[in-house]
Amino acid sequence: MKQNMSLEQLQRQLIQAARQAEQDDRVPLGFEQRVMKRLRRETSRYGNRLAVISKGLWAACGPAIAMAIIAFFLSQPMSMNREIPADLALENAVLSPLMAENELW
């Protein structure tokens, strides 16, 4: 019981001491200059990285367009081959009612 009382008092006194402690707001000499230097360094690095990425994207732009055009022309004959011939289309149209009749069950 006495030990508990002492602990409570100890806790109270320590917290009170911490509240009364003066703030240490000293700032190292030239701190703001060091931060500004670091900011300049980091942002220029970031800017350089962006420049390299955008340069690469622009360089890839031409070949990408060329590839797209080639792919478009290559796909044209293939799609024409896939079209159903006119005679076959006519035959399908004529026979479709009969084919549908067979499927009635």
Partner: protein, 230 residues
């Protein structure tokens, strides 16, 4: 919108905001954040506007203005000078990067202090040292203070050097969350709501962590063998 403007024009030497009217309007509304009464020096709003407008050098004024408060806050969580400066640098670098997120709904001071406390918490989590055996080798002022306290527990011993040192020793043994809560709630006497705003935790989480922190503090204090100072 402001974020996209910053991203598209992010260059320390030349940040242009001519195509961002949103910034103009948001900064125009922030006249109430002028904490400097002096007519000769710029207000926070003016400086922030200048920085976002491309004049990154103006940020140095923000650093000069807030560095004493930032350093004082950091020293509550870190002791070594090198660590304190590292954290302070991190705070201002983050502040510069996130300046466009400042909405001017509250004073800039609150915003930067919140950033400082959160950076300190991140630091504490990253640098959790071995927190054992700290009460075994107390310094002479700490021992003297404990002896005085045991002799007369009801007297006021709070102004002595040993008490401050003992608090530091106690704080070093606490977990990062416990240390943060103890500092904000018990020492700075902030409300649960204020702590929730500063830390970004929910109110219920703050309450749970405060309860745990008090238990943790008590457990650490029990380790001190008071009988040896009789």
């Amino acid at each position: 919108m402001i974020t996209s403007c910053l991203k598209s024009n992010y260059n320390f030497e030349q940040i242009h905001w001519s195509s961002c009217p949103e910034v103009e309007s948001s900064m125009a509304d922030s006249t109430h954040i002028d904490i400097n009464d002096s007519s000769t020096s710029k207000s926070d709003a003016e400086i922030i506007h200048a920085v976002l407008d491309g004049d990154a050098q103006s940020f140095e004024e923000i650093i000069t203005r807030y560095q004493p408060r930032v350093f004082a806050t950091i020293r509550k969580y870190a002791r070594r000078d090198s660590e304190v400066e590292d954290i302070a640098q991190e705070v201002f670098i983050k502040a510069f990067r996130k300046l466009h997120t400042f909405r001017a709904e509250a004073p800039f001071e609150h915003w930067i202090m919140r950033l400082t406390v959160r950076t300190c918490y991140d630091f504490l989590r990253k640098h959790q040292r071995n927190r054992e055996n700290s009460f075994t080798d107390l310094s002479d002022p700490e021992k003297d203070w404990l002896q005085d306290f045991i002799k007369a527990p009801d007297d006021d011993h709070t102004e002595k050097q040993g008490a401050t040192a003992l608090v530091q020793t106690l704080m070093e043994q606490m977990s990062p969350a416990g240390k943060l809560i103890l500092q904000l709630q018990e020492i700075e006497q902030k409300s649960v709501k204020e702590i929730a705003e500063i830390t970004g935790w929910s109110i219920s989480l703050v309450k749970v962590r405060a309860f745990r922190a008090r238990n943790e503090m008590r457990k650490h204090l029990e380790k001190i063998d008071l009988t040896q100072y009789l």
